[in-house]
Amino acid sequence: MKVFLASLVFAAVVAVGTAMFLGGIQQASYSAFSTSGARVGDPGNNLMVPG
């Protein structure tokens, strides 16, 4: 049981660590792949959450 729980904790740590690492080194797609003239407003959120 300890081994199983340890594997779950390790998986969570690696997943969260990867998320933080990628979030830190990557540029947001709205700014990486579009110019300011092509953005609708509230970049990164305008198409994801209600207005």
């Binding site: 081994v3 199983f4 594997s7 998986a11 690696v14 997943a15 998320a19 792949f33 110019t35």
Partner: protein, 336 residues
């Protein structure tokens, strides 16, 4: 009056003619309103697989220059109609097969009963690697199935808001648990490859039905029998294909090509269905299907009689190393 009427008619005709000459486009639209649409339809039908109509864009996203790609319709059709059928047949078919097998064969018992002595089958690090990969796989499989079947099966049960929130979290879990899964896959390959090289003994194992089809028959096997080797290679090859295709889906601007992305999503989805079906069989035989099997990954130690029946040559090797408990191994005698 007749003279003034004919003059009026001539004036109207002249005005109409002037209007036509002054606005040729309007005149064309008036007489052939569907001409453009017909030509567009012909153009789309004339495009072959792999053809694209592309434009020129000034923004950094070069993929946005694809205007029309007919292969996308085939891809959409595959995801909406063929993939659910493939997934349903493969996964439900495997569940049905396992249920039938269980009803016909029942639980595979230890032929000589529990000996009361145990032998170490998997060390702590091996079990850690197994559960790391397995737990990630379960979350990846469930969240992946939600992508394919969630809208049909779960949305009507939970409602739009709950389904949306759950899917958003499931997508995050799917994206980021892919990394510990890939890590576990690499470790698993490194620690178990030496025991999973196919050999002549494996043919004999298959000929004898793996010791599970016929009661009391147990073909000799080393640490991993042919069935376990099959699972190992399914996990490795399937895992590599899932990781490779998943990598392109995680980072879609690596291929930076819509057609390539569609290809990798198809590979990802089809391999996933087969992978899940194979793992259902693995989970079955490692838990309810075989007495004493789960201990191998639960505590790391298995009953000596179980080990002798399913991995007789491995027990001999361990005995030679002095890893097997000494003394006789009496069969368990039921209390009377």
């Amino acid at each position: 009056m007749p003279g003034s009427l004919s003059t009026l008619k001539a004036l109207c005709a002249a005005l109409a003619l002037l209007f036509v000459f002054a606005h040729p486009a309007a005149a064309q639209l008036t007489f052939k309103p569907t001409a453009e649409a017909v030509q567009e339809d012909k153009l789309l039908n004339a495009l072959k697989e792999g053809d694209k109509i592309t434009g020129r864009v000034s923004i950094p996203d070069k993929m946005s220059s694809s205007l029309i790609q007919p292969a996308g319709r085939d891809w959409r059709d595959f995801h909406r109609s063929k993939l659910p059928v493939i997934g349903g047949v493969v996964i439900l078919g495997m569940l049905a097969l396992l249920a039938i097998f269980f009803m016909v064969r029942g639980k595979i018992r230890i032929h000589h009963g529990f000996s009361g002595k145990t032998i170490l089958r998997f060390a702590t690090f091996e079990r850690f690697t197994h559960w790391l990969t397995a737990s990630c796989f379960v979350v990846l499989a469930l969240s992946g199935l939600n992508v394919s079947f969630g809208r049909v099966l779960i949305l009507p049960l939970f409602g739009a808001d709950a389904f949306s929130a759950m899917s958003a979290w499931a997508k995050l879990a799917h994206n980021y648990l892919a990394f510990p899964f890939m890590f576990g896959l690499v470790i698993m390959f490194l620690i178990w490859i030496k025991d999973n090289i196919p050999g002549k003994l494996d043919l004999e194992w298959f000929k004898q039905g793996g010791g599970v089809l016929f009661e009391g028959k147990h073909p000799p096997a080393r640490r991993f029998n042919a069935g376990q080797k099959g699972i190992f290679w399914i996990v490795i090859v399937g895992g590599v294909l899932m990781s490779l295709s998943g990598w392109f889906l995680l980072f879609p601007y690596v291929p930076a090509d819509v057609t390539a992305l569609q290809f990798w999503t198809v590979i990802h989805a089809v391999i996933a269905m087969l992978f899940i079906a194979a793992m259902l069989a693995h989970i079955y035989i490692g838990s309810v299907g075989m007495e004493g099997a789960f201990d191998a990954m639960a505590t790391g130690e298995v009953d000596l009689n179980w080990a002798k029946e399913h991995h007789s040559l491995w027990v001999e090797e361990e005995k030679a190393k002095g890893h097997v408990p000494s003394g006789t191994t009496p069969s368990a005698v039921p209390a009377e």
